[in-house]
């Protein structure tokens, strides 16, 4: 289940299309981005997530050529592009506001980069109609006022315009953040499909991990200007490197434990625990056991589990298809999340035993 995903070592890694070495950006004394090393693989969908102010937008602006790194190197297919201005970079940014030209029609927006390149009007229109098909815009939208398009249609226009530039790498600055939930979900999937169909390298930034999980091949988590962890969605979710990442990527139960001979004893709850050794294998005196609510279960008489706790149910929340229970264990509140089908029957005893297996939890340094 939650085993650490090990990349097949034998598989030849494609040459990175973008490479960042020690990239840093300071504004006065403030370092918005602190020493980032990152290899972006050809054709991958990489998402950078982080809370606001974590430096992800600054990082993206440096990649797109709108800001210059204060230190470090950015190379594109081996060529140093630190000081290459945005208009000469074979990359394209889809802005958060989309930045569609309000005085131009849908067609004029999409053909804009072609017009700048000096492509003939007929060829421009032909290409625009092709791209409109790719992004699923009806051809009669060509002459439509872009300001009269709906939110979802505008996203498609912005995408088509970016594709018209024929960039080697596409950057996205949370373009879906202003949309309503349902449309957002639909467009996330479409974007992922488009990524697969076009084979382009996508770098997407967002503060929403949910968005990142749905779309990405790999996710980079940023905090305070640093890339804390880069990995597949499964790695980020299943083997976070620290408490920040573990909490950022979803709700967790965290129990502080102390080594007591061969055993681990709870510090904030009573009990002895069986732990999976931490990823770095360090001999720890103190550690945190982290269990996601969906890996907790209620134990009935005779059920076995590596770890168990007894507590009182004092709250339950409906999460649609799932139910989350809040269970008070001593001073702590533990979360258990179940599918609705496996919910506690109404009127059952509020005193419950919950448990989990060591393999389903992860251990982080104290």
């Amino acid at each position: 289940m939650l085993q650490t995903m090990t990349a097949p070592a034998a598989e030849a890694q494609p040459r990175p299309i973008l490479q960042l070495v020690g990239v840093r950006k300071t504004f006065g004394r403030f370092a918005a981005v602190e020493s980032i090393d990152l290899d972006v693989r050809e054709g991958e969908f990489l998402t950078i997530v982080g809370p606001s102010g974590s430096g992800k937008t600054t990082l993206l602006r440096m990649l797109a050529g709108m800001d210059t790194p204060s230190e470090g190197y950015i190379t594109l297919r081996g060529e140093l592009i630190n000081d290459m201005p945005a208009n000469r970079r074979p990359t394209c940014l889809v802005f958060q506001s989309l930045a569609l030209f309000p005085h131009k029609s849908v067609g004029e927006n999409i053909t804009f980069p072609l017009k700048v390149k000096g492509v003939s009007a007929a060829a421009r229109k032909a290409r625009a109609l092709e791209l409109m098909k790719v992004v699923r815009l009806p051809p009669d939208y060509f002459d439509k006022n872009v300001m009269k398009c709906s939110g979802g249609e505008r996203q498609r226009v912005a995408l088509a315009r970016a594709f018209a530039y024929d960039p080697q790498v596409l950057f996205f600055d949370e373009p879906l953040s202003a949309l309503d939930y349902k449309l957002k979900k639909a467009l996330e999937k479409e974007l992922k499909d488009l990524h697969r169909e076009t084979g382009k390298t996508f770098i997407y930034i967002t503060h929403s991990l949910e968005e990142a999980m749905v779309m990405s091949d790999r996710i980079g988590v940023m905090r305070a200007g640093r890339l804390v962890q880069v990995g597949t969605p499964e790695e980020i979710y299943g083997a976070p490197v620290d408490r920040f990442v573990s909490e950022f990527v979803g709700e967790v139960n965290t129990i502080k434990v102390k080594r007591d001979g061969e055993e681990w004893r709870g510090v904030d709850v009573d009990g002895r625990f069986t732990l999976r050794p931490p990823a770095d294998g360090a001999a720890l005196g103190e550690a945190f056991v982290v269990v996601r609510p969906e890996y907790m279960r209620f134990l009935k008489e005779g059920d076995t589990a590596d770890n168990r706790l007894t507590g009182t149910v004092y709250n339950e929340y409906s999460l649609g298809s799932r139910i989350q229970y809040q269970i008070r264990v001593g001073e702590k509140v533990m979360l258990v999340e179940l599918s609705r089908a496996r919910a506690l029957p109404p009127g059952s005893d509020p005193v419950v035993t919950i448990g989990w297996d060591a393999a389903d939890a992860f251990t982080l340094a104290g």
Binding site: A86, F101, F112, D143, N145, K148
Partner: protein, 270 residues
């Protein structure tokens, strides 16, 4: 209940209409009086007008002196329009778009001349021209107009600059435009409504300016300056005739300008 509501609504409507009519009368009646005065056959003004005639309009249109004055007024207004729009466009971009040390101070300093009493500004400029030995003429008047009008036009255009997303320029640049192409393809078209209103403002403010012209036009005369001079000595109904013509000219320009703006918006894709 329902009838009392309807009655109340009717009363509100009546009050709104009454007030609107009152304001319109206050604003437009004097202009109408001026127009009527110009159609008076008699040399001196007095109501009721006994005989109407267009003699004074004919004389005004035929006058060589007035022709010169109108040409000077138009010349000054055109020079002021062109220069103020160029200065104000870049000023507004600097002021509303870019962040630089001293920007806030610049914002305040450039607005200040709008609030100077114009006669004082005119006098100050006249003294300044004298001090550096510049002969006053229509050119110094145009300069004086610019001192007052550039801030106004800057404000008008700045509103347009604030109204559009800087990401649009970045996006154009990112899509391969040079700086000049960004300006031509994105900045200028988006600022155009503001520039157009700024042009109308500049022309009309210069066209109707009296205090600055009085001090700084030297031997040259503009329409407002001439109207004043004739009121002081040598009134004829040519004064209200020219005044009415100047007002009508301004109105035509304003309506025409508005119409052009409307057509430009209509021409956009559906």
């Amino acid at each position: 209940m329902a009838t009392s509501l309807i009655r109340k609504q009717k009363r509100t409507n009546a009050l709104i209409w009454g007030w609107t009519a009152f304001v319109l009368v206050i604003v437009y009646l004097p202009i109408l009086c001026g127009a009527l005065a110009s159609f008076n056959k008699s040399r001196y003004f007095g109501f009721p007008i006994k005989t109407f005639s267009t003699d004074w309009w004919d004389k005004t249109l035929a006058s060589f002196e007035i022709g010169m004055i109108v040409k000077t007024s138009i010349l000054i207004a055109l020079v002021v329009t062109v220069l103020s729009v160029v200065i104000a466009t870049f000023g507004a971009l600097a002021f509303a778009r870019y962040d630089w040390t001293g920007r806030r101070l610049y914002q305040k300093l450039i607005i200040l001349p709008i609030f100077f009493p114009q006669p004082v500004l005119g006098l100050a400029l006249l003294l300044g021209f004298n001090a550096v030995g510049i002969q006053t003429s229509w050119m110094t008047a145009a300069f004086a107009h610019l001192v007052w009008i550039v801030p106004v036009v800057t404000l008008v255009i700045a509103i347009q600059v604030y109204g559009f997303d800087p990401a649009l320029e970045e996006a154009a640049y990112d899509l391969g435009c040079s700086r000049i192409q960004v300006f031509r393809e994105v900045t200028l078209p988006l600022l155009w409504p503001g520039i157009w209103s700024g042009m109308l403002f500049a022309f009309l403010l210069s066209w109707s300016n009296f205090p600055l012209s009085l001090y700084t036009a030297g031997a040259d005369s503009t329409i407002p300056k001439w109207l004043y001079a004739k009121m002081v000595a040598g009134y004829t109904p040519m004064v209200p005739a020219l005044g009415t013509m100047a007002t009508l000219g301004a109105a035509v320009l304003l309506l025409g300008g508005g119409l052009v703006g409307l057509l430009a918006r209509r021409r956009r894709p559906a």
